[in-house]
């Protein structure tokens, strides 16, 4: 048993099963082995349904009701956790194994102050005095970069953003100096830049305290950057385990290769020849939302979601609108298609002003602009069958007889790669990828010239995402429509876009061709956004390199422009031909 000295955690033949009250069961994970080395960050990577979260929860005895361990052993730090009772587990949880959950908005109790929640762990598991406990908590809060730790101590979690809450979680879990930290998708709910900050902090703090980390994630970029070892899981089984260098450079299993290859990469895109007039042009579009009044007589606050944005879209072109949450990218897209009313500006299609309040124009526009939404689970009415969903748009445009409608629906289903037999199914009977294909079919049946795709693949698993993106590009090839592609995912944008528009807080930060944006970004914010993303690159020998994106230096002469920052006056200028960037108005 010499491996015990090296491995902090050893899982052997672990099998978990869902049991109902009749005793029948379905296995959720089968025969899983895992070796976590002392002091390492070990990633468990897999798509949804791979069983990675249940694996993590079973280690600390926190399985949901109805799921039980039916076979296998778990050895942690010389002890056999599989023989533990609930009471034994209580002494392990916290001081020896810390757990950070995915949703920082949900995992802190809203009714208890931050300080009291942090104290709980220390009071339970240490013999520190009250004052010492408070001192430790304050020190930890300061350590994770919370400004004014004293204030935070008495504040409620709802007063903090997602990133800050995840820092507070880290502080409260690591205050106990556990030997192992299990982090279940700890940053999935956060924006890229914040995700990076939180993970850097986690890596740094666990290194200091010698804590090993089991990082559960679906994000290969994070694995490549933060972990030393990786276990790849699929459908409840381990596909491959090994060091990052071995597993990514020389993947032994087909699935691992598939997963790595599925990461979107830059592909050649032909740029449509610029026409005399753009297909779509947007001038100085602004959207404001009315805020709340503090007092009944005080003026209503306003929140400007989109600040005077202009853009042009050519026939057959893909323009990607990129930004983090709160950047206004989705609102902009909705305003252009008329789903959101705007306060100022004009939307022109083929040089004609489109006013969404005009009912006739609204109807006409449906065959010009169509929308594909982010989450097909929510964009498809659960009470309609697939055939009715896809054919719905035809009800309103041209009068089609039922036979013709059905023929067109079937043709569309073939185009997006659905089986004809699925026409009578309900959305919940399809997988996520198939649902998104239905959503796409629903849009293309109208033969639109512009499709607004709002994060069309971000709810999908990586391998499914790759397939759906491929279908979208093939359809574009076939029908020649343009895409307005709203996304936060730079890898996806790099794959599909001709041009990229970066937005932040409702303002355009930078607009240029895709290659310009990725190869010579100018604005500091664009550069930060890029450097927070990872790149999966094929090394040409059947292996893959995963690393943080390197952001090239700015070209000479453009380093010291007065770039726009929050609070300064704003203007947009052409820094070099066809490369626009936000500058401070002098």
């Amino acid at each position: 048993m010499d491996t015990m000295s090296e491995n902090l955690l050893e899982v052997r033949g672990l099998t978990l099963a869902l049991q109902n009250r009749f005793g029948l069961y379905r296995e959720i994970i089968q025969d899983v082995n895992l070796n976590l080395k002392q002091g390492h960050v070990h990633a468990v990577v897999g798509e949804s349904g791979s069983g990675k979260t249940m694996l993590a929860r079973s280690l600390v005895g926190l399985l949901p009701r109805g799921i039980a361990r039916v076979a296998g052993s778990v050895a942690f730090d010389g002890e056999h956790l599989d023989r533990f009772s609930e009471k034994d587990f209580r002494h392990i949880r916290g001081p020896r194994i810390g757990f950070v959950f995915q949703e920082p908005m949900l995992s802190l109790n809203p009714a208890i102050t931050v300080g009291n929640q942090m104290r709980e762990g220390l009071r339970l598991h240490t013999r520190l005095s009250r004052a010492e406990v408070d001192e430790t908590c304050l020190a930890m809060l300061a350590r994770v970069g919370i400004r004014n730790p004293k204030g935070a101590f008495h504040a409620y979690p709802s007063e903090y953003s997602g990133g800050m809450r995840q820092r507070i979680m880290l502080a409260s879990v690591l205050a106990l100096k556990p030997r192992l930290l299990i982090a279940d998708e700890p940053t999935t709910a956060l924006d890229a830049i914040i995700q990076r900050e939180v993970l850097d902090l986690m890596a740094e703090m666990t290194r200091e305290s010698g804590t090993s980390v089991l990082l559960i994630t679906h994000d290969l970029g994070l694995v490549g950057e933060y972990a030393q070892d990786v276990t790849v899981m699929r459908h409840g089984s381990v596909v491959e385990e090994g060091s990052i260098a071995d597993t990514f450079r020389r993947p032994q299993q087909e699935y691992t290769r598939l997963l790595l290859a599925a990461s979107p990469k830059r592909a050649d895109r032909k740029t449509p020849a610029p026409a005399l007039a753009p297909l779509l042009s947007v001038h100085d579009l602004s959207v404001t939302f009315a805020g709340r009044r503090k007092w009944p007589w005080s003026p209503r606050g306003v929140f400007q979601a989109v600040h005077s944005v202009s853009l042009e879209l050519q026939e057959g072109e893909n323009l990607a609108i990129v930004g983090e949450s709160g950047s206004g990218k989705t609102t902009l897209g909705r305003a252009i298609t008329g789903l959101q009313s705007y306060t100022d500006g004009r939307v022109m299609v083929d040089g004609v002003h489109f006013d969404p309040r005009d009912r006739r124009q609204w109807q006409q526009m449906r065959s010009v602009m169509q929308v594909v939404f982010q989450d097909p689970a929510s964009s498809l009415n659960p009470r309609f069958r697939i055939g009715a969903l896809i054919g719905e748009g035809l009800r309103h445009s041209e009068r089609c007889d039922p036979r013709e409608t059905k023929a067109r629906v079937l043709a569309c289903m073939r185009d997006v790669g659905l089986e004809e037999s699925q026409i009578d199914k309900f959305p919940h009977e399809l997988s996520g990828g198939q649902k998104q294909r239905v959503a796409i079919a629903r849009a293309i049946i109208m033969k639109p010239r512009i499709i607004l795709a709002d994060e069309p693949v971000s709810a999908l698993d990586l391998t499914v995402q790759a397939q759906v993106l491929k279908v979208m590009m093939e359809l574009q090839e076939k029908f020649g429509f343009s895409f307005l592609f709203v996304s936060h995912d730079l890898a996806v944008v790099e794959r599909v876009a001709n041009r990229v528009m970066v937005m932040r807080h409702g303002r355009v930060i930078e607009v240029a061709s895709r290659d310009r944006i990725f190869d010579r970004p100018l604005h500091p914010y664009t550069r930060r956004l890029l450097s927070a993303s990872a790149v999966v690159a094929e090394d040409g020998k059947g292996g893959f390199d995963v690393a943080a994106r390197r952001v090239p230096d700015r070209p000479a002469g453009l380093e010291d422009l007065p770039y726009y920052q929050d609070g300064s006056a704003y203007r947009i200028a052409e820094a070099e031909p066809d490369h626009f960037v936000a500058l401070a108005k002098d």
């Binding site: 392990i92 959950f101 949900l106 809203p110 009714a111 339970l124 409620y156 009944p296």
Partner: protein, 313 residues
């Protein structure tokens, strides 16, 4: 916080105004001339006209409403046709009886139901849970007036354990008063206990499924502490709003119960007035209960942030 409180209080004003318009309009729907009720059988147009003028019935409806509402604000709710006494006085005399029954019933419901619901939710799907849920469903299905009738028949008339008629105020004689309260409160409270138990069970189950409860367990806390510190405070806030609903039930249910046990409260006053076509009383009681109900619900809303810091506005 204060802005929120003020806003909440101010927002109750249009509700009250509209409710008073409804009460006023409702009484105007009644066919017949209210003045006729006062003068009785005297068949003299001149007398009728004089009475109409005295009651302000010759003025346009809007003026009539404003006069009436203005009177309400000054505490002048008109005069009872039956007794000739001011309505305000009648209500003031009846209110303590209703209040004591409702307050005792609410307190009892909360004391029994909230713990029962939390235990049931905590031990979801166990025998304890099944028992509590079954009892609650059963209680929910027994009408209060039937309980009252059964109590009166058996405890009162057959076994002579409790007095069936009469009423002594607890303020005059605490012991005797309490005895007169036993049956009305039981009859009134069973249904509400059931409603509240089911509610607090549901919110306990919901909170138990939330991530921060799992997180508390992941810290190594014991089940009991998890329940006490993390589940209870969060399950309590939604239960509190249900108390407002329960108050509404109780204020309605008490009408029948008072009638059953001949308690001289607001409900009995109102039902008697309906039969006697004493509309000043009906109007007065309705508006009075609406005011009480709106005020209590406003107070509950204002208390909400105390139990749920997310609502701190």
């Amino acid at each position: 916080m204060w802005a929120y409180a003020l806003k909440r209080i101010v927002s109750a004003i249009p509700t009250m105004i509209l409710a008073s318009v409804m009460v006023f309009g409702l009484m105007r729907l009644i066919p017949g001339d209210p003045a006729m009720l006062f003068i009785g059988e005297i068949d003299d147009p001149a007398v009728l006209e004089a009475k109409r003028r005295e009651l302000g019935l010759d003025q346009p409806l809007v003026m009539q409403y404003l006069n009436w509402a203005g009177g309400m604000l000054r505490g002048d709710m008109g005069v009872s046709v039956q007794t000739g006494r001011p309505v305000a006085g009648e209500i003031a005399a009846a209110f303590p009886v209703t209040a004591i029954v409702v307050v005792v019933a609410t307190a009892l419901a909360a004391l029994v139901a909230i713990p029962a619901g939390i235990v049931a939710g905590w031990k979801q799907n166990s025998k304890t849970d099944a028992t509590i849920v079954s009892i609650a469903t059963l209680c929910l299905s027994i009408p209060g007036f039937w309980t009252a009738l059964l109590l009166l028949t058996f405890l009162g008339a057959k076994w002579k354990l409790l007095p069936t008629v009469g009423y002594v105020s607890v303020f005059d004689d605490a012991r005797a008063g309490a005895i007169y309260l036993i049956m009305p409160v039981i009859a009134l409270v069973l249904t509400e206990v059931a409603v509240l138990t089911r509610m607090s069970r549901a919110s306990t189950i919901e909170v138990m499924g939330l991530e921060y409860v799992t997180h508390a367990r992941a810290k190594g806390m014991g089940e009991r502490r998890v329940l006490w510190r993390h589940v209870f405070p969060n399950a309590f806030a939604p239960t509190l709003t249900v108390l407002g609903l329960i108050l509404g039930h109780l204020l309605g249910g008490v009408v029948v119960i008072e009638q059953m046990f001949s308690l001289p409260g607001l409900g009995r006053l109102m039902v008697g007035a309906i039969f006697a076509r004493d509309y000043a009383i009906v109007q007065g009681v309705l508006i009075f209960i609406v005011v009480i109900y709106v005020v209590l619900n406003t107070v509950i809303d204002l208390l909400y942030p105390v139990f749920d810091p997310r609502v701190k506005l």
